[in-house]
């Protein structure tokens, strides 16, 4: 049996991506079909709309040990339900600032717009997020120091 501690020396972040069914999820699909290279750190959860993701889910995910959480939705104006992403945008502004205020690096939470045609952007977003969060190190939510 190899020593588990020795194997896990390199930090590999776990990142959660809530992808909207109509844009970002299709974008992720396109990224896969187009065979763009992407790190495997991002786990995708499909939701019907980026507006479906309440801040509670993001907070819960970070508290449960995820190193980063992304919400990926349609570009403003392109929402399948007209206005879901606009409402998400307002909430995300507040949440990002609140997380930073309470001591969570704001980069751990991201909202990005990825359309169904933007496979390349999806892979770029995943690459960028993985890089940033790897640089930040593990999520220290509620660590007693």
């Amino acid at each position: 049996m190899p020593n588990i501690k020795e194997v896990q020396t390199e930090f590999k972040p776990k990142i959660l991506a809530f992808c909207c069914n109509w844009c970002a999820y299709a974008g992720a699909d396109l990224a896969g079909v187009s065979r763009f290279q992407m790190p495997t750190n991002v786990r995708v959860i499909r939701v019907m709309c980026s507006g479906r993701v309440p801040p509670e889910l993001v907070i819960r995910a970070l508290a449960n040990g995820l190193d980063g959480v992304m919400i990926l939705g349609c570009h403003p104006g392109d929402c399948h339900y007209s206005e879901g992403n606009y409402l998400t945008r307002r909430r995300a502004h507040i949440l990002k600032r609140l997380l930073s205020y309470i001591g969570i690096e704001p980069e751990r939470f991201q909202l990005r717009w990825v359309s169904a045609a933007e496979g390349a952007k999806f892979s770029a977003v995943v690459n960028e997020a993985t890089e940033k969060i790897t640089a930040l190190g593990p999520n220290k939510w509620g660590d007693k120091k």
């Binding site: 606009y86 609140l98 997380l99 001591g103 909202l111 939510w141 509620g142 007693k144 120091k145």
Partner: protein, 321 residues
């Protein structure tokens, strides 16, 4: 001219006599001279119990929710901050405007008991009465009368209060106060923390929130926390574990801060109710500040205003791309 206990009693008596109200919620003297508790009246006979002084800290607006089923109209005594809570309750259709009779009193600031006792170096039993006296409080102790500068002993939220006069009322007792002379920077508490590094902030909040015993007093006293079933009480999905764990404390306070976002009127009741002395206003003030800066919205001013997180503008700031 300031409103007095006598004025409050007279006007409430008249309201009962004219059958304008069937219930009244006000303040009465509590178990010691520094304590004032809510007082519930069903007739005009006991109006002499009512008091109005700089110790009346409670936000009575929440009791309107308990009295929703009451027959007739409920009268209530409100300060500036309490009236803003009522505006928020009306916005959410929690109460009906015509079933509430609002007696407004302009407020010259409420005493923070702990601060007062520390500044004067006395124990609660020594105090006989506290009166308002312009820019100071007149404290009558067993031995003497002392003037204490307001800025030393005011409650935190009163130091930054922009609405000393109720924004909504049916009658106003005493003269409206346009602004309080000591109010300067509303958000200095928040800015101090914003200026330090994120690690520093993490340390600060971990220290403060590790004290939380999750008694939920802050939620229970909050007038805008009025969901029939609170997310934290739900068994499935269970959003919050029962573990005594600081990371769960963080989850609780973050989610709560978010749930009162755009509704919190900074009445300071959460902080007053907290048995562990956690600076909860400092958290809610941050959200209030961001909403003001990003969306130009202040809670509890106008019943017709739509809450900021339930609407959007196409031209809102977009830093996400």
């Amino acid at each position: 001219m300031k409103a007095t206990s006598q004025e409050v009693q007279d006007s409430v008596k008249k309201l009962f006599e004219d059958r304008r109200i069937s219930h009244f919620v006000g303040y009465e003297a509590g178990s010691d001279s520094l304590r004032v508790t809510p007082c519930f009246l069903k007739s005009g006979q006991a109006v002499s119990r009512l008091v109005w002084n700089p110790l009346c800290a409670n936000n009575l607006a929440k009791y309107l929710l308990d009295l929703r089923q009451a027959d007739g109209t409920v009268g209530i005594l409100v300060k500036g901050c309490d009236s803003r809570s009522i505006v928020e309750l009306l916005k959410e259709n929690q109460i009906e405007r015509d079933k509430v009779f609002i007696v407004g009193v302009p407020c010259n600031g409420i005493v923070d008991k702990e601060k007062l006792l520390t500044v004067l170096g006395i124990s609660p039993g020594d105090v006989v009465a506290v009166e308002d006296d312009g820019d100071a409080f007149l404290v009558t102790t067993k031995e003497d009368k002392r003037r204490v500068g307001k800025e030393q002993v005011l409650r935190g939220e009163c130091l930054v209060c922009r609405y000393p006069t109720p924004v909504i009322y049916d009658v106003l007792l005493g003269e409206a106060i346009p602004r309080l002379p000591w109010v300067r920077d509303d958000y200095s508490l928040v800015r101090e923390l914003e200026e330090v590094s994120v690690q520093e902030r993490a340390r600060y909040w971990n220290k403060e929130l590790s004290q939380c015993i999750r008694c939920y007093a802050c939620r229970n006293i909050c007038p805008v926390c009025n969901c029939p079933e609170c997310i934290f009480d739900k068994k499935a999905p269970r959003w919050l574990s029962k573990a005594n764990d600081i990371s769960e404390n963080l989850v609780y306070h973050l989610i709560r801060a978010f749930h009162v976002a755009g509704k919190c009127v900074d009445c300071g009741e959460c902080e007053r109710a907290c048995p562990m002395g956690i600076p909860l206003r400092r958290l809610n003030k941050k959200v209030e500040k961001d909403i003001l800066e990003l969306f130009g919205y202040t809670a509890g001013i106008d019943v017709k205003q739509q809450p900021p997180l339930t609407k959007y503008q196409v031209g809102d700031l977009d830093e996400f791309l």
